[in-house]
Amino acid sequence: MRSAISEQQSGSEENSLSEVFGPDEELIQILTPFGERVSQPLFDSWIDDVDSAALLALYEDMVVVRRIDTEATALQRQGELGLWAPLLGQEAAQIGSARALRSDDFVFTSYRENAVAYCRGVQLVDLVKVWRGVANSGWNPFEVNMATPAVIIGAQSLHATGYAMGCQKDGVDSVAVAYFGDGATSQGDVNEAMIFAASFHAPVIFFCQNNQWAISEPVGLQAVRPISDRSPGFGIPSLRVDGNDVLAVTATMRIALDRARTGGGPTFIEAVTYRMGPHTTSDDPTKYEDVDLHAQWAAKDPILRLERHLEATGVLDDAARASVKEKSDEVARGFRAACHTLDDPEPLAVFDHVYSAPHSGVDRQKRQYAAYLSYIEGGTR
């Protein structure tokens, strides 16, 4: 017997989380793979307001981001993008968590959180700048309160923690969220982030998408226990949620956000999901993925189950279906078109923004390279 919700926070704080116990490996689940919405007394109140309309909106989000994924993969195959990291299968984990945020919360992610970016209001064209190779990152983090992705695995977990420490100093109730994968939990940075977050009681949420893989490595290589078992030892309660259940993810994220906003400190959420696609478009999962495992998870598809639910409850009628389709077609069209508008950067842009103020070394190199370019263009050499 162990707790799906581990709560070891000591001291006076009373928290309902500590009362919940469930059988080993049990996940918080509200929407079953068959599309049934079950009651979970401890969580229901957190999602009372998620009615049919709200569910339909979440469904649309998920369909749209899956469509973006498909489109981007196609763009990559057509040579328009150098690479793409699909989130296929992780739509519920990302949409459910990101839609729970306030605009003044701040998000730090890795490279696969395209759906999170979508929810934050990142322009799709900004999402592909990196993959098209026209920029090292796509958007101004302060316009959407989301940092551009950290490629170094785990690094962003510390940034989120520091940001949360800043919110605390500022006396605001904004929350910082660090998204990372199961593989990332092996990095020192992620562990140090938990230590700092616990010591400073920082309003940060560690949102781990356990998609079972780190490229070709199964999660069992990173962790011999559920990942959510780790944070309690650091003094950070954890929630282990069915990451393919958008309702359960919403509930857990809201609980964590509430804790953070009200001085409860950090929370760790493990969203158990599955990477249905390759690691990136240049990966070949047939080298390491078991087909049966894949099939098992396909049956737990996050969109499928919400679709079943919405069908069963009569929400997803033909009109709604058409509208969702139209929206995703439109987004995909816009995405593709925008992708083509991306111009290559000017050569001398290579020297821009290394520093915010003059730097004699770089400035000189820039002058010399400008001279070189005009010399070359002069055709002398």
Partner: protein, 336 residues
């Protein structure tokens, strides 16, 4: 005796030989097992030698380096793969403060026969952290040997020498040349080819052009282009970056009187500076011009669409050749 292999395959066969010859050799890294590494260098090795010899590790570079050091304490000869150049920094402390210093610290009692394989350099159109050239950090670190290869034969011979070395070796693999093919003679006796020696890759008399790793090919192309211009460029492929075989470079510069150095790493504080300074020190009176450096810029590695500017190419090298020869060049602006 010899066969045609890609550079990556040449390293793979070297690893295979090392695994077969010495059961203390173990391979460690992320995705090196079933997947065979993201560049497939270790393809088939876990299948043939088992997961005890070819180990997929948790995703933590400090952890990989630190446990490799522990294995070396126990008599093993770990060969560590760092997936990409830009992912080596989490292991920096274990490399610089432990790996490099343990032999010195213990006055020779503890040997660290560890090879750290690092695919490095740009030119593959990738995103940030996948195109770095961090070799100068390690060359500046006493206690490490640092080498890099430019062709399949050297790749094969040198990886075996690196594994055979009782000192830690940073083995930089020019990732954009992984698919370059060449003849590889696996029977060449490693010991006759010291890993620390440079190679004159093309002979010449007017200018010495020093390159290593991915830019050796570019340098050779430049030399060929210069030949069309009636210029005779001698290309030296350093192979070893710590130590640098200055005797070979010096001999060349004494002959040509002119030196151009090229590397992808940033210029400021890069190895080009060390080569220029050392050669100036060794043969000041033989130099007809200041040594010229053609390098990556003092900027982070840029977006893929800008890397053609960042990376030294044939034209930039030829411009520097013109410069050391006092010919018209981009700095004189045609007004020599």
């Amino acid at each position: 005796m010899s066969e045609t292999l890609t550079l990556s395959k040449a390293i793979g066969t070297g690893l295979r030989r090392a695994l077969a010859d010495d059961d203390k050799v173990v391979l460690m890294g992320e995705d090196i097992g079933r997947l065979g590494g993201v560049f497939r260098v270790t393809e088939g090795l876990q299948r043939d030698f088992g997961p005890d010899r070819v180990m997929d590790t948790p995703l933590a570079e400090a952890g990989i380096m630190g446990t490799a050091i522990g294995l070396a304490f126990r008599g093993y000869r770990p060969v560590v793969e760092i997936q990409f150049d830009g992912f080596i920094y989490p292991a920096f402390d274990q490399i610089v403060a432990q790996l490099a210093k343990l032999h010195y610290r213990t006055r020779g009692n503890v040997r660290m026969p560890i090879t750290v394989r690092v695919p490095y350099g740009g030119g593959i159109g990738s995103v940030e952290h996948h195109s770095e050239s961090p070799e100068a950090y390690f060359a500046h670190t006493a206690g490490l040997r640092v080498v890099t290869c430019s062709n399949p034969q050297d790749a094969h011979t040198m990886i075996r020498q690196a594994i055979a070395s009782d000192d830690p070796v940073m083995f930089f693999e020019p990732k954009r040349r992984y698919w370059a093919k060449g003849e590889v003679d696996e029977t060449i006796d490693d010991s006759t080819l010291p890993m620390g020696s440079a190679r004159v890759a093309a002979e010449g008399t007017d200018v010495t052009l020093v390159a290593y790793g991915p830019l050796v090919k570019t340098a050779l192309d430049a030399a060929a282009a210069a030949a069309d211009d009636g210029l005779s460029v001698e290309v030296v492929d350093l192979r070893s970056l710590s130590p640098i075989d200055f005797d070979t470079v010096e001999a060349s510069v004494r002959k040509t009187g002119r030196l151009v150095i090229t590397h992808e790493a940033a210029q400021f504080g890069g190895l080009g500076a060390e080569i220029a300074a050392s050669i100036t020190d060794r043969c000041f009176y033989h130099l007809e011009a200041a040594p010229a450096r053609v390098t990556g810029f003092d900027t982070p590695y840029p977006a893929a669409k800008l890397e053609e500017h960042f990376l030294p190419d044939l034209d930039r090298i030829l411009d520097a050749v013109d410069r050391v020869l006092g010919r018209e060049n981009s700095l004189t602006g045609g007004l020599v």
